[in-house]
C-alpha cells in the first residue's frame, strides 16, 4: 500500500505527512501530527467530537480522508486559543461549567466558533439547531447553549 504525501495548512502552519489513503483526516491529525484535541466519538459523522473547519467550512474530520486535505486550510481546536489566551467561548464554557467529562467539548467549541463567525447574534433556537450534530452525554446541553449565547454577547461587546 503506497502512502501519499500530503501538504496542508493546520491553524495557519504548513505541515506535511504521509497518509495511507484509507486514513481519515482525524487519524492524521491525531496520529501523525500529534494534535489530539479533536476526538473520535463515533467515527461515522453522528457525534461531532471530531469537528474541524476545512477551508472555513465546518466538517467532521472522521468523514474526510487525510489525502483530501492536500492544499486545504484546516482549523482545529488547537487553533482556537491564541498564544495561550483563551477564546471568549472557552472562557464562557469554564464560567458556565458547560462541560463535565470534556470529550465533546473541543468539537462543540470549534462548531460554536464557526457559528459565531457567520452569525454573531444567533437566537437560542439557531444555536441549538447549529449544534444538533454535536452530541454531549453529560450536561444536557443547557449550560452549553447558555455559554455560547453569553460568549456571543461578549464578542459583540455587550455586557451579559
Amino acid at each position: 500500500m503506497s502512502k501519499i504525501h500530503v501538504t496542508t495548512t493546520v491553524n495557519g502552519d504548513e505541515v506535511e505527512f504521509l497518509a495511507d489513503p484509507r486514513e481519515t483526516l482525524l487519524d492524521c491529525l491525531r496520529d501523525k501530527l500529534g494534535m489530539t484535541g479533536s476526538k473520535e466519538g463515533c467515527g461515522t459523522g453522528d457525534c461531532g467530537a471530531c469537528s474541524v473547519t476545512l477551508d472555513g467550512t465546518l466538517v467532521c474530520s472522521c468523514l474526510v480522508l487525510g489525502v483530501e486535505a492536500d492544499g486545504k486550510q484546516v482549523g482545529t481546536i488547537e487553533g482556537v486559543a491564541e498564544g495561550g489566551v483563551l477564546h471568549p467561548l472557552q472562557k464562557k464554557f469554564i464560567e458556565h461549567a458547560a462541560l463535565q467529562c470534556g470529550f465533546c467539548t473541543p468539537g462543540i467549541l470549534v462548531a460554536a466558533k464557526a457559528l459565531l463567525e457567520q452569525n454573531p447574534n444567533p437566537t437560542e433556537t439557531e444555536v441549538r439547531y447549529w449544534l444538533a450534530g454535536n452530541l454531549c452525554r453529560c450536561t444536557g446541553y443547557d449550560k452549553i447553549v447558555r455559554a455560547v449565547m453569553d460568549a456571543a454577547a461578549d464578542l459583540r461587546g455587550e455586557a451579559a
Binding site: R22, G48, L63
Partner: protein, 288 residues
C-alpha cells in the same frame, strides 16, 4: 485501496471502466466513508472527483436554469440566493440532510447515487424535473433524476458512468416548489415520509404540477395522478382531498422501525397537501 484524483470526468470514467474490483466515486464522502469505515464497502479503487474543475460551481445556464457541480455541499446551496429564490423546495430538501457538519460536505449527487428511497433531496429534484449529466466511457448523456434510482441502493448508472452535473430547468414566472418530510423529532433523522410539489399558476389556477414522494416505495415516486388532482384547480378543499387520496394510493411502503406501512400511506397524503399549499403560496410570491 488505490486513491485517484483525476482532473476530468472523462478520466474518472476511464479509471472506473478499467477497474477490476469494487469502485466508488468520492464527492462529499458522508456515505462512502461511513461504508468504508464500517467495512460494508471496501473499494479497491476510490475516485475522488473534487479535483475536477467546476465541481464546486453553481452556475446559471443559458436558458435560465441552473447547473450544480457534483461537489457542491448542502451549506453552499443554502447560501446561494439565486438558487434559493428559484428552487426553495430543492434547497430545503438538501438542507434537511444531517447536521451542520454533514451539510459542509454532503452533496445532491451523493444523496441521489446512495440510492436510499428516503433520500431527502431527491423528491424535490424529481418534482422540479431536474436531470443529471452522466459521463461514461461512451461519452455524455442526460437522464431525468426520476429515472436514476431503480431500487434501494441501486441506480441506472452502468459501469464506468459518473454523474458530472445536476441540471435544474428554468423556473419561470408564477411558480413555486416545496419539500416536507415527517420525522418523529425536529432534526437529525431519516424521513418516514417525504413529499415534494412543484407547480405553476395561471392567475389563481394551477396550470402545471409535479408531485414526488419519498420513503413510501423502493424508489422515490413521481405521482402523475396526484399532479392531475390539482391541475386546473385553485387548491380548494376538494382538490386537496383528491391530491391526498392520489398520493396515498401511489404508496407501496414497508413496515419498519420508523413507521408502519399504514401510517406512511396516510401521512403521505397529509405531507403532499401541506407541501402543495406551501408551493402554491410561494408561486403567489411568498418568500421561502
Amino acid at each position: 485501496m488505490r486513491y485517484h484524483s483525476p482532473s476530468t470526468f472523462e478520466d474518472a470514467a476511464r479509471i472506473a471502466a478499467a477497474a477490476q474490483g469494487v469502485t466508488r466515486f468520492l464527492a462529499g464522502g458522508t456515505d462512502v466513508l461511513v461504508q468504508l469505515r464500517s467495512g460494508h464497502v471496501l473499494p479497491d479503487d476510490l475516485i475522488d472527483l473534487k479535483k475536477i474543475p467546476g465541481t464546486y460551481d453553481i452556475a446559471q445556464t443559458e436558458d435560465g436554469g441552473w447547473r450544480i457541480g457534483i461537489a457542491v455541499p448542502g451549506a453552499a446551496l443554502g447560501a446561494h440566493a439565486g438558487l434559493c429564490k428559484d428552487w426553495p423546495g430543492v434547497v430545503e430538501g438538501m438542507e434537511l440532510v444531517g447536521s451542520t457538519q454533514v451539510q459542509g460536505r454532503a452533496t445532491l449527487a451523493g444523496n441521489l447515487c446512495n440510492g436510499s428511497p428516503a433520500a431527502d433531496s431527491v423528491p424535490g429534484l424529481v418534482a422540479a424535473g431536474a436531470t443529471v449529466e452522466i459521463t461514461g466511457p461512451e461519452g455524455t448523456r442526460s437522464l431525468p433524476v426520476a429515472e436514476v434510482p431503480v431500487g434501494p441502493g441501486k441506480t441506472a448508472l452502468t459501469a464506468g458512468e459518473v454523474i458530472s452535473a445536476i441540471v435544474l430547468p428554468p423556473r419561470g414566472d408564477k411558480a413555486g416548489d416545496a419539500y416536507l418530510r415527517f420525522i418523529p423529532r425536529t432534526e437529525m433523522d431519516i424521513a418516514v415520509v417525504g413529499a415534494a410539489v412543484s407547480l405553476r399558476l395561471d392567475g389563481d389556477t394551477i396550470a402545471e404540477a409535479r408531485v414526488a414522494l419519498g420513503a413510501v416505495a423502493p424508489t422515490v415516486l413521481l405521482v402523475a395522478e396526484a399532479a392531475e388532482a390539482i391541475v386546473g384547480t385553485t387548491l380548494d378543499d376538494s382538490a386537496m382531498d383528491a391530491l391526498a387520496a392520489a398520493a396515498s394510493a401511489a404508496c407501496n411502503p414497508i413496515d419498519d422501525k420508523r413507521g408502519t406501512a399504514a401510517f406512511r400511506i396516510e401521512v403521505a397524503g397529509v405531507m403532499a397537501k401541506r407541501a402543495a399549499r406551501i408551493a402554491y403560496d410561494r408561486a403567489k410570491g411568498a418568500s421561502a
